[in-house]
Symmetry: C2
C-alpha cells in the first residue's frame, strides 16, 4: 500500500553537451544540448524510497523549467502519497488548474513540462512502493482505478469516462498472453541514431552500416533544411537498407503547409512510411491538409512530440490529421494525461508510436507503450514499429 508524506522535493538542472558532436541535431534544433529538469521526491516513510521524475529539455531554458517546478512544489509538499494517488484526477487538476499559475500555461509549455516532471516522480514512487515497474503497475490496475487518474476536462465530446472503461474492459481478453509476449520479445523499435541532420555523409554511412549489422530494420532520417541534401541523404540510406526495410522522415516543423506537400512529393520516390512533424505542432488543420495531400503517395503523417496536451491530440484525431500518433512521456502531463491520449487513439484506431529521442525518454516511454500494447491497443498491427 502507498504510504508516507512528501517531505522533500528537490529539482536539478542536468545538461549534457551533445551539441559538440551534432547528436540530436535537426532542421529546427541545430545545436541541442540534451538535458533534463530532474525531480526527486522524498517521504517520511521508513522505506527510504524516493520518486524520480524528469522532463526532457535541450539545454538553455532548463533553469526556467526548474523555476516552474519550484512554483508547483507547494502543491506536493506535505501531502500524503495515499491521498495523492487516491484522488489522482483531483491532484492532476490541482496542479494544472492552480488559479494563478494556469495563466502562464494553461497545460502547455514550461508549466506543463514542470507538471510532467513532478507527476512522473509521483508515479515512480508509487510503482516502487508497490514493488513493480510502472508498466506492470498500470497493467495490474483495474479499469475503474485507471480512469480515475484521468482528467476528462475538455475531451468528453470525444471520450467519456464510461467509454474509457469499456475500452479497457474489452482489452482484458488476451492480456496475459500479450504480457508474456512482451516479457519474451520486448516491444519493436526503430532507430534515429544514424541520421541526425548534423552528421556528415561518412558518419551516416558508417552508423547505418553498423545498425544493419545490429539487426535494425527501421530507420528514421532527419530532413527539411535543404532539399538537395535530403535527396542525397535519403537515397544513400534507402540504397543501403534496400527496398524492403522501413524508412521514415522527420522535418521537425520546418515547413509551412504548401511547402510540406511540395517537398515531400519530391522525396516520395524513397518510399517513406511517414513524414513526421511536417509543420507547426499547433497546426491541426494544416496537418489534416498535408495528410490528405500525401495519402495518394502512400505517405502518412506522424506527429506528437511537441503536441502540448490532450486537447491538441483530440483534435488531430477528430480532423484525421495523422496516421501515427507520437505521445511524449514528459511533454504531456505524465502518465495521467498519456492514458487519456492512448484511449482516444484506440477509439480512433490510430497506432501509437512514442517519441523517445532524448534524455530518459526511452526509459520512460517503454512503460507507456508496453502498457498500451497489453491493456489498450492490444495490437502491433499497423504499428510504425512493425
Amino acid at each position: 500500500m502507498v504510504h508516507g508524506r512528501v517531505s522533500r522535493l528537490s529539482v536539478h538542472d542536468v545538461r549534457f553537451p551533445t551539441s559538440l558532436g551534432g547528436h540530436g541535431s535537426d532542421a529546427m534544433h541545430t545545436d541541442p544540448d540534451y538535458s533534463a529538469a530532474y525531480v526527486v521526491l522524498e517521504t517520511d516513510a521508513e522505506d527510504g524510497l524516493k520518486g524520480y521524475g524528469i522532463t526532457f529539455t535541450l539545454g538553455r531554458g532548463t533553469e526556467v523549467v526548474v523555476c516552474a517546478v519550484n512554483a508547483l512544489a507547494p502543491h506536493v509538499l506535505n501531502k500524503d502519497l495515499g491521498d495523492i494517488v487516491g484522488d489522482f484526477r483531483g491532484f492532476y487538476r490541482q496542479l494544472t488548474s492552480d488559479g494563478q499559475l494556469r495563466w502562464i500555461g494553461p497545460e502547455k509549455g514550461v508549466v506543463h513540462l514542470a507538471t510532467a516532471a513532478v507527476l512522473n516522480a509521483v508515479w515512480d514512487l508509487w510503482a516502487k512502493q508497490e514493488g513493480k515497474p510502472l508498466w506492470k503497475l498500470l497493467v495490474d490496475m483495474d479499469p475503474r482505478t485507471l480512469v480515475s487518474c484521468i482528467d476528462f476536462r475538455y475531451i468528453t465530446d470525444v471520450l467519456t469516462e464510461e467509454e474509457a472503461c469499456e475500452i479497457l474492459q474489452q482489452s482484458q481478453v488476451g492480456k496475459k498472453e500479450r504480457e508474456e509476449q512482451m516479457l519474451a520479445h520486448g516491444y519493436p523499435a526503430y532507430t534515429t541514431s544514424c541520421a541526425w541532420l548534423g552528421y556528415p555523409d561518412a558518419t551516416l554511412k558508417q552508423l547505418c552500416s553498423e545498425a544493419l549489422k545490429d539487426g535494425w530494420t527501421r530507420f528514421k532520417v532527419k530532413v527539411g533544411a535543404d532539399l538537395q541534401d535530403d535527396i542525397r541523404r535519403c537515397r544513400l540510406v534507402r540504397n543501403m537498407i534496400g527496398p524492403e526495410k522501413t524508412l521514415m522522415m522527420d522535418a521537425n516543423q520546418r515547413w509551412d503547409v504548401p511547402e510540406a506537400v511540395e517537398w515531400m512529393t519530391k522525396l516520395a520516390e524513397f518510399k517513406p512510411l511517414w513524414i513526421e512533424e511536417p509543420t507547426s505542432p499547433d497546426d491541426i488543420l494544416g496537418h489534416a491538409a498535408i495528410s490528405k495531400a500525401l495519402a495518394p503517395l502512400g505517405i502518412g503523417v506522424a506527429t506528437g512530440e511537441q503536441c502540448h496536451n490532450r486537447v491538441i491530440f483530440k483534435q488531430l484525431l477528430q480532423a484525421k490529421a495523422l496516421k501515427f500518433l507520437q505521445i511524449d512521456s514528459c511533454r504531456l502531463g505524465s502518465v495521467n494525461e498519456n492514458l487519456s491520449v492512448l484511449l482516444m487513439a484506440k477509439k480512433f484506431e490510430i497506432p501509437v508510436c512514442p517519441h523517445a529521442g532524448g534524455v530518459g525518454l526511452c526509459e520512460l516511454v517503454q512503460h507507456l507503450i508496453i502498457f498500451d500494447f497489453i491493456s489498450v491497443s492490444a495490437s502491433l498491427q499497423d504499428s510504425p514499429s512493425n
Copy 2:
C-alpha cells in the same frame, strides 16, 4: 532615426494583491493577484530614453516568466536598436526559434509571454525615439515596412506577405479621416468591472448603477461556475441595463463542448451578444462546434486572450470558430505577431475586440486597436464595442 546599442535589460516581478477584493475573479481564476513581468531596456544613446515592456500575469508564476526573460536577454543585449528594428522579422524569429529554448515552447506559454515582454519594450523604445505614440508609429509606417516586422512562418497557407501588403494598401483610403475620428472621439469600449464572479450581488448592483450613470452601454458578466447563480446575475444586469444595451458573457474556459452549448442555451433568454471562452483555448474544433450550435440563438463566440500564437488564430478563422477575435497584447509575441493576426482577421472579415482586463493591458492594446481601425479594418461596423 533609431539609434543606440542595448546596454542593459532589467526585469521586475510586480504584483498587486487584487485577490483580497475578488477583483478579476472568474470561473477558472478565483483568486488572481493581477501582476506583471516588467522589462526595462536601456541603451548607450545619449537621449537617455528607456523602453518599457510588460507581460501580464496572475501572481504566482511571475517569477518563472522573469526567469524566461533572463534566458532571452543574451539575444537582446549589446544589439544595435537600428539592426533590431531594421530586420524585425529576423529578430522575432531569433527570439522564438532559439534552437535550445524553443523546446520549452515553441511560441507558447512562459517563453512566449517573456518574448512579448521583451519585444513590447523594443517597440516602446522605438516609438519613443521617433517621438510618437506606438499607434502613430504604426499608422505612419509604409505597408512594406509594416509587413517586414511579421514572421509569416506557418501562416502562408492563409496569408502571404503580398496579400498582407495589398490589405494595407487598400486601407490607405480614408486613413486621414479615421485618424481624425480617433483623435476626436477615441475608440469605443465596454466594461467588465461591474460583474467579476467573486462580487456579491450588492456590489454588482452598485457598480452597474454607477457604470450606467457614467454612460457605459456595453456590459460583460462572468459566468460558468454555477448555472443558478448565472441566471440570477444575468437577470439582474439585464434588468438594470434594459433591453437595448449590450450584454456579453464570459465563461473563462470553464466548460466542455457539450456543456457549453447546454449552459448557453439556458442563458440565451438574456440576449448575450457573445459567449467568451466557452471551453479550452486550444480547442479550435470545439469552438467551431459551439459556434455552429449557438448561431441560431443569435449568440456569437468570442475568444483569444489565451490563444497562444498566430497559428491558433489562423485555424480559428479557417474553421469559422469565432465571431469576435480577441487579441492579447502580451500573450501573442508583441506587436509583430499581433500585426499578422489583425491582417488575417481582416481577410476573414472578423472584427477584432482586444483583451484588456489586466495590469497594463488597456494601455497596451489601445495602440493596436486604434491602428487596426485606421490602417487595417477601417470599420467599427460589427465591432463588439459598437
